[in-house]
Subunit: 349 residues, 2 copies
Amino acid sequence: MPELRKDPIVGRWVIISTDRAKRPTDFFREGVKIKGGFCPFCYGNENKTPKEILAYRPTQNGATSQRDTPGWTMRVVPNKFPALGIEGTLNRQAEGMFDKMNGIGAHEVIIETSDHNATLANLTPKKIEDVLWAFRDRILDLKKDRRFKYILIFKNHGEAAGASLEHAHSQLIALPILPIYVAEELEGAKNYYIFKERCVFCDLIQQEMDDTSRVVAENEHFITLAPYAPRFPFETWILPKQHESAFENSSSRMFEDLAKALKTLLMKADRVLDNPPYNLVIHSSPVQDPTNDHYHWHIEFMPKLTKTAGFEWGTGFYINPTPPEEAARFLREAEVEQVTTAPVAVAVS
Amino acid sequence: MPELRKDPIVGRWVIISTDRAKRPTDFFREGVKIKGGFCPFCYGNENKTPKEILAYRPTQNGATSQRDTPGWTMRVVPNKFPALGIEGTLNRQAEGMFDKMNGIGAHEVIIETSDHNATLANLTPKKIEDVLWAFRDRILDLKKDRRFKYILIFKNHGEAAGASLEHAHSQLIALPILPIYVAEELEGAKNYYIFKERCVFCDLIQQEMDDTSRVVAENEHFITLAPYAPRFPFETWILPKQHESAFENSSSRMFEDLAKALKTLLMKADRVLDNPPYNLVIHSSPVQDPTNDHYHWHIEFMPKLTKTAGFEWGTGFYINPTPPEEAARFLREAEVEQVTTAPVAVAVS
């Protein structure tokens, strides 16, 4: 008998097939392969992108390379085909009973590495940390612009997951509105807080750590787990163990651990699911909101294993053929290179 | 400059690209083609499906054919691989802080025609009407079962839209819960009603009929239109012009007109978009609810034109490359066979 399960944050019911659960090999798998060819994100092609906003350029022989030239390891540029425009004043208008505004926003690309053949999963933890710092740096800069209510950071890996260029990159979209799913999560988390006076994510982490059946991996600051009521097979979340409402407030020590947690998850997914295409999204509090006790930032990782889902869009009704306990077990047991956490400094009292 | 538009029912903001709007030929189009081969839904293979629940069997030479034999034009059978099981008592349980219940429900398949090479678009209006009557008959039967809160009727056309068998069919899933998107629409519609004391869909229909730029087609009882803030290019809705909260309450005259409206839309989409894969969903009030003034049933039609959308699932954030006014114009201007409405009987007072 299948099981209906409710997501404790947004209240979404999903069907979890328990009888004929799909194992990793049951999915149609067309692993992501790098094809090569001309690439505007590659080293030496800096003039093929809009002018860089940020770059990490290591000092060599006492000198740092010039902007928009080689010599970088990570580079942030405006999206050449932005979904939103950066210039102008926000103009809210009615159109009869309807509401609209001009499409003000920022759309940037984080080029994660200068190496066309690398993927986020096989960068060193230090390089992944650099990408996370770039996310933070861009958020802190963009949140000064009071027109922006939300900053969305996401990654599409592989053509099947919506990536139009194969060179490893993430994207950032700064928005004058809240995306609806984020708004629902915030509302659900707030309602839970009003009822319980506790953060729903903190409660969830506590229960998952006690139960362990949906835990994929863990380090000092982060827990990686399959959520109780996932929409998609092998959907996995990474959450900070300590309550923190916004990604950009994380400490340097946190980013170090997050880079390791992320690398571990991506390597495990590559191993278990044969280099799957995937989407990765950071869910965080709205950038203009003060630090709060009810929302807990996290990363959602969704490998694209099922070929289609148009129907789900129309209904919000999901049938997940892989119980999260099964998915977590496959990922947990996958043997990958150990990404060790640096020794923890012991506080001397 | 792109435009941000808000859906008036659920409050979802979407980005509508207005600058480089995608025309029908800009989409990657792999039209749905019928390949043939063995098919359990075909005439003569009645014993390859579970036993039929309902069939329309025209009388020939004064006799009607036997159940589960040839002689039918439309047939409803249980899904051989149901997402939910029909037997048992609904058992709601806690799992720590989480909520679950056993997967009780019905999952049926409506085989729309005995002809393997037909599509819903090229059935006669009368045959399409039969399919709509079958939806109604099954809803009226299943709603007697008080375990079911919602009955979802949908159609996946083409492999890319999730159809696993190519023979024209729709599906019905009876659920003990409300799908989240339906719950949000109901809540949005209720909130609007509290505020305005009018149905949001009735207001919307009024404005669209006055404006006409998003209207695709119209007949006596139905209007076909591109919504103001669609998530997907060429997303189209069919709504009854007069307020009605539930699909199954429609009169016989309504089904006649709906069959024509549906056929017209599907033919126009086939013409403009080269036989696209699509998803079609009926949104209606929960089956155990009394008739209400705030929710207005309708059909949502979503051709699958963009290859991927994993990212949208994670955020509820949509970028639509085709303004609905453009989509509506292409569909409106597409010349297709006239599906005439039968003359309206004039009431004699």
